[in-house]
């Protein structure tokens, strides 16, 4: 075994962003689960309760950041997993752009939903 090992060296922007988003998501995902299952029970969720939370600027901003980072982290993880499975060439390019478009649609729909929840659009 190596006496000292670190992969924390420059390996590209996506590699770095995957780690940065991971650090953010560790906290926010745990917070999300705690808030919506232990503080407010999921079975008792109402639109008015959701709206009250989403009308707080800090909460709204955190949820938008959660959506964007989770989408990047998840979709980039899927892309990396497929590359590990041997994805190359034209198929790699097709998969990449399908994932980019899917991410864009998910984020757009998520932001649109958040705006409805906050009552900014109705």
């Amino acid at each position: 075994m190596a006496e000292h090992y670190s992969s924390f060296e420059y390996k590209g922007t996506r590699w770095f962003l995957q780690r940065i988003t991971a650090v953010f998501l560790i906290g926010v995902l745990a917070f999300h689960f705690m808030l919506l299952h232990f503080v407010n029970h999921a079975a008792e969720v109402t639109f008015l309760g959701t709206q009250a939370r989403m009308q707080q600027v800090g909460y709204f901003g955190t949820m938008i950041a959660f959506l964007v980072t989770a989408t990047f982290h998840g979709v980039n993880g899927v892309y990396n997993a497929l590359i590990n499975q041997g994805l190359t060439g034209t198929r790699k390019q097709v998969v990449k752009w399908v994932l980019v478009v899917a991410s864009g649609v998910l984020i757009a729909q998520g932001v649109r939903t958040a705006l409805y929840m906050a009552g900014i659009i109705a």
Binding site: A2, L25, H37, F47, G86
Partner: protein
């Protein structure tokens, strides 16, 4: 001096009986990641009922939460999320060169702590489901 040895290709799942703790950690992390990204797309689709009306949003969530199978699936979601978080913390430390010698033990710790958190959460997740 560093020293490496060839464990073979982890993508060759047919030799799973030979896999070490680190390889299982890799597989569980990928599996839980696939579940979580699949759930994210589903979650946004369900929450999108808010764009129709507040009443539809409330009824959809309450309707889903009234199904016991959904509550059980939520416990499964909690399990993969907690494991992905704890193993992710383990991976960040390994990336920083901390605790590599104990990476197998930290994987086992991730499993045990995940199981403990999930078991402790079951009463809250299943309250009123049956």
């Amino acid at each position: 001096m560093s020293q490496s040895y060839d464990r073979g290709t982890i993508e060759d799942f047919g030799r799973w009986k030979e896999f070490s703790a680190g390889m299982w950690a890799w597989i569980f992390h990928k599996f839980s990641g696939w579940v979580l990204i699949g759930y994210l797309f589903t979650h946004i689709a369900v929450l999108s009922t808010a764009t129709q009306s507040g009443t539809m949003y409330t009824q959809t969530i309450r309707g889903l939460e009234s199904l016991a199978v959904v509550r059980v699936l939520e416990v499964g979601l909690l399990a993969v999320a907690v494991f992905h978080i704890l193993n992710g913390v383990r991976l960040l430390f390994v990336d920083l060169g901390v605790g590599l010698e104990a990476q197998d033990k930290s994987f086992y710790a991730s499993l045990v702590v995940s199981a403990a958190i999930v078991v402790a959460s079951v009463p809250t997740f299943l309250a009123g489901a049956f």
